[in-house]
């Protein structure tokens, strides 16, 4: 980390590239000049970056939640009914291989350039992986749990709620994790192209203002949020399930 930062600073100071293309991270090249750090701090204080982050996360959470709900429903139907598996299941695998940003032109025509279009590609980007993971989880519920529950008098929605869902939790969590990553990529692409506020839009603004310090600050913010989500949220969930179930260490 330190090595990378140092190399970056040196390259920046050699004047090999103009400062606007290769801005220094910590120490300004000329007195009072820009650094990535100062832009980041200023952006956070002025609320420009914070506001954009909030906007992006808001959209992301909404799209992600819709995707998770849809994914669980589709996944359940695929696992439950053979004919759904043969039709929708096959279709989902095909859909999953389409990068979600490919849907953007269609989304713009359908919903106009704006929030809904971005939300659409976020949702569509996350739904299919969630569906695949959820259906795998539901299909692999050990028969012995189902049989045990049934002989104890459980059936229908009670069986789904108390056995099928909890037994698939490990698969569902890894589904959430991948779906989140997909949604995160989709929203960046969507905002870059679709404008209308958010971190992606700010990135595009940084490009047109030729201020790479802004672009780099945003990249840092994106990296930090991604790491926090992965390590603090999903990894923690996985670990707590592993501890409770006694799988893993």
């Amino acid at each position: 980390m330190i090595v990378i930062v140092t190399i970056w600073e040196i390259i920046s100071k050699t004047n090999l590239f103009p400062t606007f293309m290769f801005p220094p991270l910590l120490i300004p090249n000329d007195p009072g000049g820009v650094t990535v750090l100062s832009t980041l701090v200023n952006g956070l204080i002025s609320g420009q970056i914070l506001g954009a982050t909030g906007m992006t996360l808001g959209r992301l959470l909404l799209g992600f939640s819709i995707a998770v709900v849809l994914g669980l429903i589709f996944g359940f139907l695929i696992a439950r009914y053979k004919w759904v598996d043969d039709t929708l299941g096959f279709f989902v695998t095909a859909l999953q291989s389409i990068p979600s940003i490919v849907w953007f032109p269609l989304a713009i025509v359908w919903f106009g350039l704006g929030n809904v279009a971005i939300l659409f590609i976020v949702t569509i980007g996350a739904t299919w992986t969630m569906t695949v993971n959820a259906s795998t989880g539901f299909k692999n519920v050990p028969g012995i749990y189902l049989n045990a529950a049934r002989t104890l008098g459980s059936s229908g929605t009670h069986l789904v709620r108390t056995v099928i869902l909890p037994a698939s939790v490990p698969h569902i969590i890894s589904g959430l994790r991948v779906a989140w990553a997909f949604a995160w990529r989709a929203i960046m692409a969507g905002e870059l192209l679709g404008g209308n506020g958010g971190l992606g839009y700010l990135l595009d603004m940084g490009r047109s203002l030729q201020s790479m310090d802004l672009v780099l600050s945003i990249m840092i913010v994106i990296g930090i949020i991604g790491t926090i989500m992965d390590n603090q949220v999903f990894l923690r969930m996985e670990r707590s399930v592993a501890r409770k179930w006694g799988t893993g260490s």
Binding site: N147, A148, R150, T151, T162, W245, G246
Partner: protein, 280 residues
């Protein structure tokens, strides 16, 4: 008559047109309060019989009655203890044991009291808050037995419940199961491939033949309880069961290794043990 199977046949589809005939004309009656073991080599369909009685599967032909009522699906009057317990790993012991009770619309407090009672019966009163993975295999099976017992079923179905346990634990659980049976007077159908286990535990041992599975012979175990595996009655029965079982084993092995295989005259066993190579 607690359990009554009439001319039960079961086939499973195998490939597109073929089917595997697993059970052939099974007639089986179990009296109330009887402890019956189904003994047979693996693949003879003994677990299938249990699943039919539990209502987890339905017969291809024939009828299954429990308490003179036709079995149409799973019911809480017949609870199963599975080989691997089938405890839910996401619930602690208490929640596992009260699972069925709460489904019976019992209130939580009452259910927990009853569960505690059941757990004490299997000597696990101190482990109510533990999660299944924190318990040993033997303790998990005890929880599974407690979970089945608190449901107060008419018939307790046990599908090789001790097969995965080590010998010492198994012996202890044999003692405890006998005590529980004497105390509660439940009707128990016990499935096993262990001859001694079947003879130590049950009143009646049903020996199954294989492919298709059928009930070959019935042995009544008339030995006093608590039973001792070295009791002469049991030892004698063991030899008799073993002789019958060997025939079945040979049939299975022939099917797997071809017709020229014979258990009694197999290459290794038939080599003359006295032959020391002195016929030069």
């Amino acid at each position: 008559m607690k359990v009554n199977l009439k001319q039960v046949n079961k086939s499973f589809p195998k490939g597109k047109h073929d089917s595997l005939h697993v059970l052939h004309d099974i007639n089986l009656q179990i009296e109330a309060g009887e402890f019956v073991s189904l003994l047979g080599p693996s693949g003879c369909g003994k677990s299938t019989i249990l699943n039919l009685i539990a209502g987890l599967d339905s017969p291809t032909s024939g009828e299954v009655y429990v308490n003179d009522k036709k079995v149409k699906g799973p019911g809480t009057d017949r609870v199963v203890v599975f080989q691997q317990g089938g405890l839910f790993p996401w619930m602690n012991v208490m929640d596992n044991v009260t699972y069925g009770l709460l489904l019976k619309k019992m209130n939580k407090k009452e259910a927990e009291e009853k569960a505690m009672e059941g757990l004490r019966m299997v000597h696990l009163g101190n482990f109510a808050q533990a999660f299944p993975h924190e318990l040993s295999g033997g303790m998990q099976q005890r929880v599974a037995i407690a979970r089945a017992l608190v449901m107060d079923p008419d018939v307790l179905l046990m599908d090789e419940p001790f097969a995965a346990l080590d010998e010492q634990t198994r012996l202890i659980l044999h003692q405890e199961l006998q005590e529980i049976w004497q105390k509660t007077g439940k009707t128990i159908l016990f499935i096993t491939h262990n001859i001694r286990e079947a003879l130590t535990l049950s009143e009646r041992v049903l020996l199954m033949s294989t492919r298709p599975g059928a009930i070959k012979k019935s042995f009544r175990v008339q030995s006093a309880r608590p039973r001792n595996p070295s009791d002469s009655v049991i030892v004698d029965l063991e030899t008799r069961v073993m002789t019958e079982l060997e025939e079945e084993m040979e049939k299975v092995l022939k099917e797997e290794f071809g017709d020229d295989y014979s258990l009694k005259t197999s290459a290794i066993r038939d080599r003359d043990r006295d032959y020391m190579g002195d016929h030069i």
